[in-house]
């Protein structure tokens, strides 16, 4: 054992470059894996801790005091044994106009709510930054913490609110942790003003709304309790509940964790391939030494153990390093997640994810090393001592002969032969490259798919409209539907198709004919088959008793095409047959589609009010919109097409940033792999290079040879990676976006982008190979004598 350890230490030092590469890839792999597992484990904790620490209500009721009796509501809830507490009523007003900050507009609605002492007991609003005076003072406003980061607001800034046609200004005196509004996704969000402040901001006629919070005891099922409330109480107002708040907070981190997990698994695969290659190549280059060692009494098991120990020791150094870095990164991410929540002494146990990550990676490393190192145990000592280089490996063969063509440059020929001389090496390196190419191509195509939403809107569930017209009714001379259609019909050169539609709401009914859920959907005047919209299952509704459901709604109520669903629509109960299921990310998977004739059967006066215009390709969208507005004036309002809207633009940018970061990371890995591989290759084949030098090859020639070897290796990787990526990318995205109503991700490959990415890979890989090849200069005849 002692001798094995001594040998190991020698080899570790001797092959430090190779082991550094292996070590780095192990560090990066375990870093990603550990972060992903930690995030997925921790995600819900900060939210639940905050929610419980601040005694937040699982149910918020928001109602108009003229239609719902505040005292009766409080009394009812207080009398229920499931209820832990009912908060004091908090008057509020909605501010629906954009907020004004330093002359700019924040496109947000805010529920301006009065703070009161009850918020120290239930639905506590915790101060994170600002003067902790217990509540906002007169003229002040408290905002959720995400306002600070997302909108660049600061303490002391003034926020302008358009209330009742007048500008009211409030000073930001604190950023607070609001247990219900922890996420910036929520719009409208909530802000707090002083007790008794609302009469200073709005007239009495606007002060009719109040909010009550209901906190349940532990273990109470919210759904059951809510159904009990609906059955017992005639409530007209709105309610917001725990699952919605939680989902708003965790969805982003869940997605992040899932993406990191996928990439960490890919990284793990690459690392294992690197390990396999490394061990194999070491065994080959140590062939003679193995023979010697076996000759002096080392057993086959010792030989395997020798290499196993090298990787084992390496893993024992690299993995903890990676875990340590991941610990810091997770802490950083968690702090970033938790800091706006202000959770005091937030502790979390990472031992599980860390142990799991370590266990998985270490075990796999040992396994792969074991199987790769077995060859060392099979080496015959006499043969090994006699022959400096192993005979195994095919110096020629068909692959090698490919590179014998006289018309190819000599360096290319030699590079090819070097690459193909060891098939296994060829395959392994090809797979490394393929893995990286896979990721880079994935990133390029996903980014393009988001960029090109306008090319494939219907696959996202959006109407295929370059311009949407809203026909206004509240004016002196409103246009009728027929009139507008006639006028739009004169734009044959500009408009390719017109799809009139309108929105409608319905309630899904329970078996007892109670309204369970209200959903909004669309009613189309033309056959849906002409709109370009598609279904993921079944068909568009055609008959008056058919409707199609969005995937989220269908899954929630466990419905498939052919099933029936009872609804309450236009004041009537009706049973529809589900003709199909579609996806629509715009409604987060909720909704329905109906054909106009179905609606006319329920409401003979139904008319479309919206018109999706698909324009011809050569038409300038903005110019045409202006032209329509000038012609129609106040009778219409044009709307931006979906991909132009702020929220979508912002999302696309975020996705681009994310994939760019990931692809850069993998490109870096590629460069490292190539550089290190080149170095170790040069070291392992010193004699060959000396021989070539003796034949007249200069260092530059030999560097060119190695460059071509790398380029051909990359080409192999590209030929495997690109098809694999094109095949798997849509499937991966389907899985990731299913939660937001997109079960079939509209994947649009980007050939130009792929080519550009590959060119970049080749350039960077080639550069790395060239620089690594500088080691050739140090190889000279004296080395032969060393050998």
């Amino acid at each position: 054992m002692k001798s094995l350890l001594l040998l190991n230490s020698k080899y570790l030092v001797k092959r430090k470059r190779a082991f550094v590469l292996v070590g780095l890839s192990l560090i990066l792999t375990i870093l990603l894996l550990s972060i992903a597992l930690s995030l997925l484990r921790i995600i819900e904790q900060p939210f639940d801790i905050t929610f419980n620490n601040q005694k937040a209500s699982e149910i918020l009721l928001l109602f108009d005091v003229r239609s719902d009796d505040k005292d009766k509501l409080v009394q009812w809830f207080s009398n229920q044994e499931e209820v832990w507490g009912v908060s004091e009523p908090s008057p509020f007003i909605m501010v629906n106009a954009p907020l004004i900050h330093k002359g700019g507009e924040l496109d947000l609605s805010v529920q301006l709510t009065e703070h009161h002492s009850g918020h120290l007991v239930q639905d506590e609003i915790r101060m994170l930054k600002g003067d902790n005076s217990g509540h906002p003072n007169h003229g002040e406003i408290w905002l959720p913490t995400h306002f600070e980061g997302n909108y660049g607001l600061k303490l002391g800034d003034t926020l302008g609110l358009n209330l009742n046609g007048e500008l009211r200004e409030l000073k930001i005196s604190a950023f607070v942790v609001d247990p219900h509004y922890l996420s910036a996704i929520f719009n409208p969000t909530r802000a707090w003003v002083a007790p008794g402040e609302l009469p200073f901001l709005a007239p009495l006629s606007e002060l009719n709304n109040t909010m009550i919070g209901v906190r349940l005891k532990d273990g109470v099922d919210l759904d059951t309790f809510w159904k009990h409330f609906n059955a017992s109480f005639d409530y007209s107002g709105k309610s917001l509940q725990y699952p919605l708040f939680k989902r708003a907070f965790t969805s982003f981190y869940t997605l992040l964790g899932a993406v990191l997990l996928i990439f960490s698994l890919m990284g793990l695969l690459i690392s294992l391939l690197i390990i396999k290659h490394t061990v194999s190549s070491h065994v080959f280059s140590d062939y003679r030494q193995i023979g010697v060692l076996k000759g002096v009494g080392f057993t086959p098991g010792n030989m395997v153990l020798l290499y196993l120990m090298q990787l084992g020791i390496l893993a024992l150094i690299a993995l903890p390093l990676g875990l340590m870095v991941s610990w810091f990164v997770v802490r950083m991410v968690v702090n970033w997640m938790v800091e706006p929540l202000g959770i005091p002494n937030f502790t979390y146990n990472l031992s599980g994810p860390i142990a799991l990550s370590f266990g998985i990676v270490f075990l796999l490393v040992l396994l792969v090393s074991f199987f790769s190192a077995r060859k060392a145990g099979l080496v015959k000592p006499v043969e090994a001592i006699r022959n400096t280089f192993q005979k195994k490996g095919n110096p020629g063969g068909r692959t090698s002969r490919t590179f014998s063509s006289l018309w190819l440059p000599l360096s290319l020929v030699l590079g090819g032969r070097l690459l193909s001389s060891k098939k296994k090496n060829l395959v392994f390196m090809g797979l490394h490259m393929a893995g990286i190419v896979f990721v880079v191509i994935f990133c390029v195509n996903i980014s393009n798919s988001f960029d090109k939403i306008h090319n494939d809107r219907t696959s996202w569930g959006f109407d295929n409209a370059d311009v949407v017209i809203n026909r206004k009714s509240s004016i002196i001379l409103p246009l009728k539907h027929g009139e507008l259609m006639e006028m739009l019909g004169t734009y044959k050169d500009e408009i390719r198709s017109i799809s009139p539609f309108n929105y409608s709401n319905l309630f899904i009914l329970s078996n007892e004919n109670r309204a369970i859920k209200e959903i909004q959907g669309k009613v189309y005047s033309d056959a849906l088959s002409k709109t370009g919209l598609g279904n993921i299952e079944g068909n568009h509704p055609v008959a008056p008793n058919e409707l199609s459901l969005c995937i989220g709604t269908a899954e929630e109520f466990n419905k498939r095409p052919g099933d029936s669903v009872a609804v309450f629509i236009e004041g009537q109960k009706k049973v529809f047959t589900i003709s199909g299921i579609y996806q629509d990310v715009g409604s987060l998977g909720q909704g329905f589609r109906l054909q106009e004739k179905a609606m006319l059967g329920l409401n003979p006066l139904f008319e479309p009010r919206f018109y999706g215009l698909e324009l011809h390709q050569n038409v300038d969208r903005d110019a045409f919109r202006s032209q329509l507005e000038e012609q129609f004036g106040e009778t219409i309002q044009t709307e931006l097409s979906i991909e132009e809207r702020k929220a979508m633009v912002s999302m696309v940018m975020n996705v681009r940033m994310a994939v760019l970061t990931i692809s850069l990371f993998f490109v870096l890995v590629l460069v490292l792999i190539i550089y290190n591989h080149q170095n170790s290759y040069i070291q392992q084949h010193k004699i060959s290079f000396v021989k070539l030098k003796s034949l007249g090859f200069t260092s530059k020639n030999l560097r060119m040879v190695l460059l071509w070897k790398t380029v051909l290796n990359l080409a192999l990787g590209v030929s495997i990676g690109i098809p694999l990526s094109l095949w798997w990318s849509p499937k991966i995205m389907n899985m990731l976006t299913a939660d937001i109503g997109l079960v079939r991700f509209p994947f649009i490959p980007y050939p130009t982008g792929m080519v550009m990415a590959m060119v970049a890979l080749f350039v960077l890989g080639g550069t790395a190979a060239w620089f690594a090849g500088s080691a050739i200069r140090k190889i000279n005849f004296r080395i032969i004598s060393d050998v």
Partner: protein
């Protein structure tokens, strides 16, 4: 003999040349008379007047019907009626006068004349020019709430409050009818001329035009005998009551108040036809009038189904411009919800006509009755010796007709009282209560505000959740909010949301009468104590909450506080104006330290002299808003002054 013949010949020749070149034949006037009599008899209009002029003078002026359905006084050419948005042409004329004087330039940004003029997006409001204000392309869509201020400050306050609104369309590009734009133009007139808007019009328009019965000042309406008009009903219009407490000065330049007569408007039209000249006065140059009548923007006009020809309507400066049946017509309507006007100037035949009605004919049911557009167009035809046409009358039947019938058993679920909670406007549809009740032929909906019946419909159900409200006006959609078990929780109608009044809630209140002329609701457990100068009421559960009512003039401190309207401290809110129940109240809140810690105090007062009382409510700050919701709002909504209303 020969000499006599020669004299006669010369006389006849002279007469020929002296006669108007465009005379209206006597028989045409008879035809016009006959036509209008028929209109009166077959239409639903309680009363109207018509004036027809040409460039030579007055051609025809007559009234039909009664000033008020419940009174005998006839509607004549001297009857003072609202003209509505025809005022916009007058505002535009005033602007052009200032342009001619060199005090204004049409294409100069407003900010040049009002340096502080801005919206929240200043880069957009900086582009708004004076022209855009009066050709409806400023992009200013918002119509801020009125302040119930009839002083000249109202226009200034309106303009300043635009700081919080956004312009969403590029100024100067798209037509969008904007009362706000004209109001700001009115303010520009006052700032540039140095005269309040009302005074400017009196001096520079109405005076020179001898429009003696024309005014934009509501204070003068009584003396002028100005009408209040009628609201639409099912079979008969309902006389409208004046609601002085809801009058507000913000939109005077857009037409909220202007009253005039057929006689006066005849003078106005004659001046326009005579290239700006009336008698010895020249109000505008021919070029300026041509500028006003040049198209600046356009929007879709009446389509064929509606009796039009599909040609777009253009908008100049305060005037609409159309080609109707081969004639170039400059026109503008006016609508106040209770009265209406339509003016058409036939530039091809040099003739003009105005119709004033004491019912809003702009929103008349066009499938049942001729529209005001059709009527005035035909008046011009007849005056030109031409046959009447159906221009402006729909060529199709009412598309809202249906054969659905609501079953009898379901009707009861709709019956009840509803209150307006959102939407509407501040011209007609505000502060409404709606009662749905059984009528002779099914269900009826009645909209009221205090003693005013604003609208009355028969409900023709198209589905269980959609009814068409039918009366003499344009059919209105009533969209009911139903639950699966058939309950009616509320409804939407005409952009207004109503909820069913919570009667159970009202059971928690009691009626109190602290004075012989005063009654309102208070929470049942509150105690009321009468005082020599008013009353006091207390919440037995919270001694820090005090309601005080006191007779006007009894507390100087309060009168001083009311007088301090424009000089408030940081601890005081602005004065808000609200409509609660039948009255407009102003209220202001202030923070103060009291025996119970920091308290909020809100003072409510009413400016009307026949409302004798102010209220103040004081409580701990954390309870104050809830108390306003639970106590003050029901109190004000239920407040009655017996014998002291309007």
């Amino acid at each position: 003999m020969i000499r006599k013949t020669r004299i006669l010949t010369f006389f006849l020749i002279g007469l020929f040349f002296l006669c108007p070149t465009n005379p209206v034949a006597a028989q045409d006037l008879r035809k016009l008379d006959h036509y209008l009599k028929e209109v009166y008899e077959n239409h639903i209009i309680p009363g109207f007047s018509v004036v027809v002029v040409n460039d030579q003078g007055l051609v025809y002026k007559k009234g039909f019907g009664k000033e008020r359905l419940d009174r005998a006084k006839p509607f004549t050419g001297q009857t003072v009626n609202a003209i509505g948005s025809l005022t916009k042409s007058m505002t535009a004329m005033a602007i052009m006068q200032l342009v001619e004087q060199g005090d204004l330039e049409l294409d100069t940004p407003v900010v040049h004349y009002l340096p502080w003029f801005r919206t929240a997006n200043k880069d957009m409001s900086d582009k708004v020019t004076v022209r855009m204000l009066i050709n409806n392309t400023s992009g200013l869509q918002a119509s801020p709430e009125p302040s119930y201020d009839l002083s000249d400050n109202a226009l200034a306050a309106l303009t300043r409050n635009l700081r919080s609104t956004f312009i969403t369309r590029e100024p100067g590009t798209v037509y969008e009818y904007s009362n706000l734009g004209f109001s700001i133009a009115g303010y520009v007139i006052s700032q540039v001329s140095g005269l309040p808007y009302k005074e400017y019009l009196d001096k520079q328009l109405f005076g020179p035009l001898a429009m003696k019965s024309t005014s934009t000042d509501p204070e003068k309406f009584g003396a002028l005998g100005a009408l209040e008009g009628h609201y639409q009903g099912i079979y008969q219009a309902t006389p409208a009551l004046r609601e002085k407490q809801f009058e507000s000065g913000e939109y005077i330049p857009a037409g909220s108040f202007t009253r005039s007569t057929a006689q006066d408007l005849g003078n106005y039209l004659m001046a326009l036809l005579n290239k700006g000249k009336f008698g010895n006065a020249r109000l505008l140059s021919e070029e300026s009038i041509a500028e006003m009548w040049s198209p600046n923007s356009s929007f879709p006009g009446l389509m064929e189904d509606e009796g039009g020809d599909g040609k777009p309507i253009q908008y100049g400066l305060g005037w609409m411009i159309s080609e109707i049946e081969g004639r170039k017509i400059v026109h503008h309507g006016g609508s106040t919800g209770k009265m209406s006007s339509m003016t058409m100037i036939d530039l091809t035949n040099n003739r003009a006509a105005t119709l004033l009605a004491n019912l809003d004919l702009t929103f008349i049911d066009q499938y049942q009755y001729p529209t005001i557009f059709n009527l005035v167009n035909n008046i011009l035809h007849i005056a030109a010796g031409e046959p009447i046409t159906e221009f402006g009358r729909p060529t199709i039947s009412d598309p809202s007709l249906n054969d659905f019938d609501l079953v009898e058993e379901r009707m009861e679920k709709y019956v009840g009282e509803f209150v307006q909670i959102k939407g509407g406007d501040f011209w007609v549809y505000f502060g409404l209560s709606m009662e749905i009740k059984r009528g002779d032929k099914g269900l009826e909906a009645m909209m009221t505000r205090g003693k005013n019946t604003i609208n009355h419909f028969e409900l023709d159900f198209a589905t269980p959740s959609l009814a068409i409200g039918r009366n003499m006006g344009i059919p209105q959609r009533f969209q009911f909010k139903l639950t699966p078990d058939g309950k009616v929780k509320g409804l939407f109608c005409g952009g207004v949301e109503y909820i069913r009044e919570n009667k159970l809630r009202l059971e928690q209140y009691k009626k109190v009468e602290p004075g012989s002329h005063l009654g309102f609701l208070l929470p049942k457990d509150w105690s009321l104590q009468k005082l020599p100068d008013g009353f006091t009421a207390n919440d037995p559960n919270d001694s820090s909450t005090r309601l005080r009512g006191f007779v006007k003039g009894s507390r100087k401190k309060v009168e001083d506080a009311i007088a301090k309207v424009s000089k408030r401290t940081s601890n005081e809110s602005p004065w808000f104006s609200i409509r609660e129940g039948q009255y407009v109240w102003k209220h202001q809140s202030s923070v103060r330290s009291g025996s119970h810690g920091e308290e909020v105090h809100t003072l409510f007062y009413n400016e009307m002299s026949n409302i004798p009382i102010h209220f103040e409510i004081t409580s701990k700050k954390e309870n104050h808003t809830l108390i306003l919701q639970q106590v003050i709002s029901p109190l004000l909504n239920s407040l009655e002054f017996y014998g002291g209303n309007q």
